[in-house]
Assembly symmetry: C2
Homo-oligomer: 635 residues x 2
Amino acid sequence: MPSDLELARATSSVDAESIAALLRTPNERAVRAKLLPIFAADQVFAKTSRPFKNHAQNMLYALEMSKRILELRDTHKWTHEEWKAALDLQNDSLPITLHEGAFATVIEAQGTDAQRDFWIPKCRSYQVIGCYAQTELAHGSNVQGLETIAKFDPATDEYIVSSPRRESTKWWIGGMGVLANHALVQAILELPSGRKGPHLFIVPIRNQTTHRPLPNVTVGDIGPKAYGGFCYMDNGYLHLSSVRIPRANMLQRFASVSADGSYTPAKHDKLSYGSMVALRAGIPINSGWNLARAVTIAIRYCINRRQFSPSKTEVESQVLTYASTKMRLYPLLARSYAYIFAGRSLWALYQQFLESLTKDGDISMLPEIHALSTALKVKATWDCVSGLEEARKCMGGHGFSHMSGVGSLFAAQTPSQTYEGDNYVISQQIARALVKALGFLKQMPDAPLPDSFAYLRLAVNGLRITKDDDLHMLHARTAGLVEELAKEVATNPEKGWTDHSWTAARVAAAHADVFVCSSLPETPLTKLHILSTLVAALPELLETGVVTSAQSAKELRRRQGAEVEGLSIGDVVGLTDAFEFDDWELPGVVGGKEGMVYGKMLKTVEEWDINKGEMGEEIRRMALEITGKGRRSKL
Amino acid sequence: MPSDLELARATSSVDAESIAALLRTPNERAVRAKLLPIFAADQVFAKTSRPFKNHAQNMLYALEMSKRILELRDTHKWTHEEWKAALDLQNDSLPITLHEGAFATVIEAQGTDAQRDFWIPKCRSYQVIGCYAQTELAHGSNVQGLETIAKFDPATDEYIVSSPRRESTKWWIGGMGVLANHALVQAILELPSGRKGPHLFIVPIRNQTTHRPLPNVTVGDIGPKAYGGFCYMDNGYLHLSSVRIPRANMLQRFASVSADGSYTPAKHDKLSYGSMVALRAGIPINSGWNLARAVTIAIRYCINRRQFSPSKTEVESQVLTYASTKMRLYPLLARSYAYIFAGRSLWALYQQFLESLTKDGDISMLPEIHALSTALKVKATWDCVSGLEEARKCMGGHGFSHMSGVGSLFAAQTPSQTYEGDNYVISQQIARALVKALGFLKQMPDAPLPDSFAYLRLAVNGLRITKDDDLHMLHARTAGLVEELAKEVATNPEKGWTDHSWTAARVAAAHADVFVCSSLPETPLTKLHILSTLVAALPELLETGVVTSAQSAKELRRRQGAEVEGLSIGDVVGLTDAFEFDDWELPGVVGGKEGMVYGKMLKTVEEWDINKGEMGEEIRRMALEITGKGRRSKL
């Protein structure tokens, strides 16, 4: 008998194939089609026993997965692109993820040719496994405040790298806890001529033969994370007591130190932004895909789940037909599409920037790309994380089971709101850029502006609302918020940016909304996302004078509701199928393509050790100490 | 040297003692003062090793804690009140929690005198340990749809209890996974004269000597929960194949079956609401206290955490001085106070209801208490859960460490949005009651109304806004929302309540806001909570025509900001100290009264097995398989 999900799928009028082609390039789809069956068939990557491990078991398993994925790379002779895709296919980062994504990548970007030639082959062969050690116990956001010191000793042509106090211990470093034998350490460069701010140094931390910490190095694991997130990532700590490394271990493609200790600074001090922008620019699209996974699971589950009959003679209703379920899940589906599309646009812009940088040393796009990548990082992580928990809640009681899978997506995504720059801290950077641009524009109304800043002209021309232009309302709201902030800044010269950080966050989010809603290709979900954005922005539409009547507010909500009502359950299935998820990719057991739910849950539970008795003896004995005669005799 | 927290505390002008007296009765404080040192000193209840256990280890540890807390009860000869307080002091529920709170309690409430006399002593001595088995794999919210059957067999004077199909398996039952030897099973009573709907039956499920499942009983544990929540609760499943129990095992204080199979129904069909109302009425206050724990931890941490200097010569700023931190944490502090106070008011009303029920069989308060307990359950769980995650995020990067402790509070609290009735499902009950009351009022404008419904008169009199009366704005908004829903219901007679479930949830939340904001005694946080409620309600204030100008919206936000600015850091410390938390009660290591943070984190990490090498050998070997010569030789 076909499941409710299969029955719904049969009624879909969505062209899933052409939508899938909007979501991924043909090449991306081909790579996935090649890789997914390999992981789905490999015992090491099976997901059933994962929830039963403790932290030490997780670390061991994470290394086992790392080893196996390297074996698969060699066996199948994956290209570099396929290799990166293979890592991306894991729901959770592995101890080797940042060796690839931050250690080797940064050496390639900021090392001299000689440094690349020396280190990169060792990285590729995994003889050298590294991590990127920036954050310290007492310093994260404030990179200029880092305390680790690399003091140059001209006598030996070495740096002496040290953590001056316990608060300077490197902390949170992914890949460091149990695996890395090298660290790329951000440390203040200290020369005979004085301190030069943070630079990057390659520091060996574990013996390559014994894997034990090297002398004067204290290194370890910082333990479990909240919600069981990042459970296969060995975030670590590192304390250095006068560790000597050769001068050649400072990355010096841009700034360099010669044997006599003289310093050549980088040409552009903004060049080091490059890797930060790259890290941030990748977050919106990943957040969108994570939300897509959760929404797919939740929608499939809510089609199979039935509860309450409209009347005594009818079968119970699918939970997805409830207004409160539709009005939450359909906008979230639209949201996942929106961040995937906007993330792709952002990534394309970033590639364009990189190209003109590499070709012509042209950094003119930097202000726009920096503001956009930051604003989108902020808004995408907020929206997708809140969407993940909402999707889980749409699954009701069973959503709280580890088997729903959605919890693990939230656990993995929620730190994105604080890593690569806390959202409230980095929002100040965007707000500052926008306030500056507005001031500039007020002096020179015809000055050229990057596309994504163009709405600021409204704050100069006066806010002009075209009633039926939804995008225009978003423009006017954002312009209004920037203008208000600019006034606040101008009238309170004693205040610093942390004093404006609350307002700055609203500005950053509004800036992102404009870009996201302008980046959407035509799909059955486009209008819904724009309207949902407007409904969520109602307080600000009111405060910036864009919406002033109860009637127009209600009209936005009515139109949002109409978009939701316009989607049939079959179409929604089509729109989730267009993500082309393999069942292996979706955590948990209830989100599969077939749609059978209860049978799978029961089977999963019955197969667990704890229920088959293997782990039960000790538990049974302890239970009897509570209920049994031993206790009773005392009472 | 005193910590930043201690320095701030010294400047507090808050009378923490008199505020503490508002938050708890003298007796509650005395019981806590007696119990807390016992737990803080007991090795079994130490919290350091907790994050390192897997599911099976958690179950074993949960039983160990259960056994120990019973020993402490006997050693210290705790009163029943002290015993309940001792259970409440655990951050997480234990396998025995629902034996006390649902199994024994419901037998007392719904059992005959003879049934109480037989079962309660066995419950007290823990010879009988029970659980409350209502939810099934395929049925949760829809209790009428439960499938488990108890068929009366007059020939043997027994019930035959069965789960007709695998979807009828009882599921999620707390205490059942590894501990309970009895279950109170909700099952459809089937008599020769027909089916009578769900009733409660005491069914033995495990052998009291061997603790193994009894014949025809399949029972087990449903495994880990999302986010590692409820990790010491053995939620279980139960499948019954024609299990025979004596007729005396149906609870029959209200409805009963005689030996010939004839049925005497309950006098009031609403009496069974009683225990549901009791369960819901306890949730708001617990949610408030949980949020209080999180906010205390976050505020203390953000006082000690410093990042960014206003200028090069100054020391870095305390993170709590950032606008974005204050504007999040202070309203959350006010929110925790609000739900503690409102929860206390609700509980007092519930006691009043119980009294008039017991004394005079008077159930006239039921509609009000049912609507209030439901609305507050909905709004308190939404607000407190979102507040918990926000508090965690205010702690930046370290907030994501398990050591921050706040994650475990969120993990324990988030299911409250779905248990005891999914918030969106039960909101429909309140909305229906309010729409009905409004209809009644329109026909009889002078009809008496319970206090908490009084604002509905505004929808009859016309909305009259007194500009500077904040509570009145909340009244008008709620009345407006009810009126709008009433119109929607009236004009769409074909729609059922699930079609209104989205709107119903807004109505329920608004109904709760009125009660909460009217229940607050005067504290330095009262105005802040009311203003934060209004700011959060801006979209609805706009849509119901209560606020129509940008100016008045901005004015609300300005006044909220002024309340936040009016609180000094010292006062905020005083207001968290007034909660009188013992360090043992606050999960994690960074929220203690002393305020030392980094030293504690470092010390905690250094003491872990995984860093001391005891668990490291296997991990080291596996790391070498990735980095070592074995792999390299192949490449």
